[in-house]
């Protein structure tokens, strides 16, 4: 894989949506962006909250912009990390990223053949950000479909 295409994005979305419907049993939105952070495809499942499309897009954008899953960004602003190097460093990020940087877990980077990030998947709508049934696992279902 060198570049994200609409075909690939649709494949990832299909797998994510199926996983969210059949296993998580929780409607949500899933977004796929390319290496520029530009939206390639977004889908909101029936019954998912309206605002979830925006959050899914912003999560995926944040992955490309920062080259880490948004779980890492969430950890960087965790108040429990204050006083430790990572926490002190991260809290200032809250005002950065032109209002788009998202500090909520639930995204995965997509890496190309040479190891560079060529895109990202973001999900929003599942109550948990991380864990067995979470936004992150919905993203991972889509991610796996790309590497079959």
């Amino acid at each position: 894989m060198k570049e994200m295409t609409l075909e690939m994005a649709k494949k990832a979305l299909k797998a994510s949506v199926r996983w969210a419907r059949d296993i998580a049993e929780n409607p949500c939105s899933v977004a796929v962006v390319d290496k520029a952070g530009a939206v390639i495809a977004v889908e909101r499942m029936d019954g998912a909250a309206q605002a979830t499309t925006d959050i899914a897009i912003e999560k995926a954008w944040s992955v490309v912009a920062f080259k880490v899953p948004t779980l890492m960004l969430a950890r960087m602003i965790d108040p429990r990390a204050l006083g430790k190097q990572l926490g002190d460093h991260g809290i200032g990020l809250l005002t950065k990223g032109k209002g788009r940087l998202t500090f909520i877990a639930g995204s995965v980077p997509i890496t190309g053949d040479d190891g560079e990030i060529i895109g990202a998947i973001g999900c929003s709508g599942v109550p948990a950000g991380v864990g067995e049934i979470s936004d992150s696992s919905v993203c991972q279902a889509g991610w796996s479909a790309l590497y079959d």
Binding site: L6, V39, Q50, T53
Partner: protein, 136 residues
């Protein structure tokens, strides 16, 4: 009837097919009757801003329950609605042609927005797709 993801996928896939046939690269957005996004695809090589423009066109068509191009008549200084565009409501309002409501009989259940070609081409794609839509 509300617009489902299945219907949105059907609409967008048909639009992509139509755009390929006429050699266009565009973005296609489908929103529900309140203007909230249901699905959005950007075709490979479509220009970056087409994503937001397609979304805005669909939002405008759903919010005003009319074709997005109809909004431009509100910008006519001789009409009482002059200045609507200047309110820039929600930052989404657009007067560009290429957004059409999706109807079930008389009821508007959502809207489609297409951006990437000339306004005429975008409208043609919208019309073809809406006309071909089979509602269960």
């Amino acid at each position: 009837m509300i617009i489902t993801l299945k219907m949105a996928r059907q609409i967008i896939d048909a639009a992509v097919k139509h755009a390929k046939k006429i050699g266009n690269r565009c973005s296609i957005a489908v929103v529900d009757e309140h203007g909230w996004l249901v699905a959005l695809y950007k075709m490979d090589d479509a220009l970056l801003p087409t994503v937001d423009i397609a979304w805005d066109k669909a939002w405008t068509a759903a919010a005003f329950k009319t074709a997005s191009s109809d909004i431009s008549k509100f910008g006519d200084a001789s009409k009482p609605n002059f200045g609507l565009k200047a309110t820039n409501w929600n930052d989404r309002l657009t007067t560009i042609a290429g957004g059409l409501p999706i109807k079930n009989g008389k009821a508007i259940i959502g809207a489609i927005g297409v951006s990437g070609g000339t306004p005429e081409e975008d409208v043609a794609i919208c019309q073809a797709v809406v006309a071909a839509l089979k509602l269960d």
